[in-house]
C-alpha cells in the first residue's frame, strides 16, 4: 500500500467513524424546550432546513460582546404542517435579517423551539406552533 492510498483509506475510516458518530435523532418530543421562557434573538439566516420530521431555521447571531457570529438552530414543525400554516420553503432565505422568538434549550446550547420569525426588512411575521398546539382543524 503506497502512502497516498493509505492516507485515503485512513481518511475513509475517519469519515466513516464521524458518520457513525452522527446520531439520527431528528425526531423528538418538544419537551426539551423551556416553554416557560420566550426569548428573542436577531441575526441573519444562514439556511432554512425544510425537512421532515422538523424544519430548522439556522441563524447567525452576533454576540453582544463582539466576536465571531454564533450559529443558532431554531426548530419548528414539519414541512406539511408549515405549508398548511402558510409557509413555503422560501419563506425565509439565506441572508434575510430576522428576529426570532423562541423557547430556549434548557442546557444553554445555541438552539430553541421557534415560536415566530419576523423578517426585519419587510416586517412580515411568520408564526409556527408545535406539539399539542400544532393541531389544525
Amino acid at each position: 500500500m503506497n502512502l497516498f492510498r493509505m492516507k485515503l483509506t485512513l481518511g475513509a475510516v475517519a469519515l466513516a467513524a464521524l458518520m457513525a458518530a452522527v446520531p439520527v435523532f431528528a425526531h423528538h418530543s418538544f419537551a426539551v424546550y423551556d416553554r416557560t421562557k420566550l426569548l428573542t434573538l436577531k441575526g441573519n439566516v444562514k439556511s432554512f432546513q425544510w425537512t421532515n420530521p422538523h424544519c430548522v431555521v439556522w441563524v447567525l447571531v452576533q454576540p453582544e460582546g463582539g466576536g465571531e457570529p454564533q450559529e443558532w438552530s431554531f426548530e419548528t414543525t414539519s414541512p406539511g404542517v408549515l405549508t398548511r400554516g402558510g409557509w413555503t420553503r422560501n419563506s425565509v432565505k439565506p441572508g434575510d435579517r430576522v428576529a426570532v422568538e423562541f423557547y430556549p434549550l434548557r442546557d444553554g446550547s445555541h438552539g430553541g423551539g421557534l415560536s415566530a420569525v419576523t423578517l426585519v426588512d419587510t416586517g412580515q411575521k411568520l408564526t409556527a406552533s408545535f406539539g399539542e398546539k400544532a393541531e389544525l382543524k
Binding site: 446520531p23 439520527v24 425526531h27 423528538h28 418530543s29 419537551a31 421532515n52 434549550l105 444553554g108 393541531e135
Partner: protein
C-alpha cells in the same frame, strides 16, 4: 382461440386431470399453501361503494389525545407504572425520554395513539391502506380479503393486520409486533411492549368528517388488563392537507456542497437529541 386462452384451457384440463387422479385433500393443499391475490372484479369495486367512505387525509385530534392521556391511562402493572412515573417526571424536568427519537416507524399502536402527523386512508378491493406523513415508512396494510393471520408471521413495526366489515365499522386485528415497539401515551412516555401484544380496533365514522378508532390493547407484559381507548381524526378536504413526502432521516442533514460543488447532504450537529448551532458546547 388465442394463445393465452388456449394455455388457460390447457391448464384447466391439466388441473382437472390432476384433481381426478389425486385424493381430494391433497388436491386442495397446493392452493392453500400458495394462495394468490385474485384480480379485482367490477363487483369488488362496486362493493366498496356500499361501504362508509373512509378515504382521504385524516389529522389526529391532538387535544383529544391529550385529554385521553389524562383521563384514561393504560392499566399499567406495578412494575411498569414505576417506569412510567419516572418518565413523566423526566418529561416535566425537560429531559423527555426518547420514545420517537430514532427514525424507525413509531409502529402500532403509537401510529393511532400518539402521532401528531396526518395519514391518508385508501380503501381498495381486499385491502385498507394507511399512509402516514412524517416518514414514508409509516405504513399500515390491513388485509380485508378474508385471509387469516399467518401461522408464524415475522414480527414488524406495524404487525400483521386483518380486517373485516361489521356493518359500517371496520374491525381490525393486529398481531406480530416487534417486542421493541413502544406502547406509548405521548412522545416522551412509553415502554416497549416486550412481546405478545394484540390489538383490536373498531374504526367507524362519528359524523361525515370525523373518524373514530376504538382500540382494545392487550399487552400482558405491561398491562394488568386489556386497555380500551379511543382516538379521533378529522378529515381534511383542502388540498393543502395532501400528504407530502417525508423522509425522517433527512432531518439529520442540511443541504450543502462538496469540494467539487456537488449538492450533498451535510450532517447537522445534535446535542441531547436536538439540533444545535455548530459552535455550541
Amino acid at each position: 382461440m388465442n394463445i393465452p386462452i388456449r394455455r388457460a384451457v390447457a391448464a384447466m384440463i391439466l388441473a382437472a386431470f390432476a384433481a381426478s387422479t389425486l385424493p381430494s385433500s391433497d388436491a386442495a393443499e397446493p392452493a392453500a399453501k400458495d394462495p394468490i391475490n385474485p384480480p379485482a372484479t367490477l363487483r369488488d369495486w362496486q362493493a366498496l361503494a356500499k361501504l362508509p367512505d373512509f378515504s382521504g387525509v385524516w389529522t389526529p385530534v391532538i387535544s383529544d389525545q391529550v385529554a385521553q392521556e389524562r383521563s384514561n391511562p393504560p392499566p399499567w402493572n406495578a412494575q411498569i407504572a414505576k417506569q412510567i412515573e419516572h418518565m413523566y417526571a423526566e418529561e416535566k424536568a425537560g429531559r423527555p425520554f426518547p420514545v420517537i427519537d430514532h427514525c424507525f416507524p413509531t409502529g402500532m399502536p403509537s401510529y393511532m395513539l400518539i402521532t401528531h402527523n396526518a395519514f391518508e386512508l385508501l380503501v381498495t378491493p381486499g385491502r385498507v391502506t394507511l399512509l402516514g406523513e412524517g416518514d414514508g415508512n409509516r405504513l399500515r396494510r390491513i388485509y380485508t380479503d378474508g385471509r387469516p393471520h399467518p401461522d408464524d408471521p415475522d414480527p414488524s413495526f406495524h404487525g400483521h393486520s386483518i380486517g373485516h366489515w361489521e356493518g359500517q365499522t371496520l374491525v381490525v386485528d393486529t398481531i406480530a409486533l416487534l417486542p421493541e415497539v413502544y406502547l406509548a401515551v405521548n412522545e416522551a412516555v412509553g415502554v416497549p411492549n416486550d412481546g405478545d401484544m394484540h390489538i383490536v380496533e373498531r374504526i367507524h365514522l362519528l359524523d361525515a368528517e370525523t373518524l373514530a378508532d376504538d382500540l382494545e390493547i392487550t399487552a400482558n407484559k405491561l398491562l394488568s388488563k386489556t386497555w380500551k381507548t379511543t382516538r379521533k381524526y378529522l378529515r381534511q378536504r383542502s388540498q393543502k392537507y395532501d400528504i407530502v413526502e417525508g423522509v425522517c432521516e433527512q432531518g439529520s442533514y442540511n443541504e450543502g456542497l462538496d469540494k467539487d460543488g456537488n449538492s450533498i447532504f451535510v450532517p447537522i450537529k445534535f446535542h441531547n437529541g436536538v439540533p444545535v448551532g455548530s459552535d455550541s458546547k
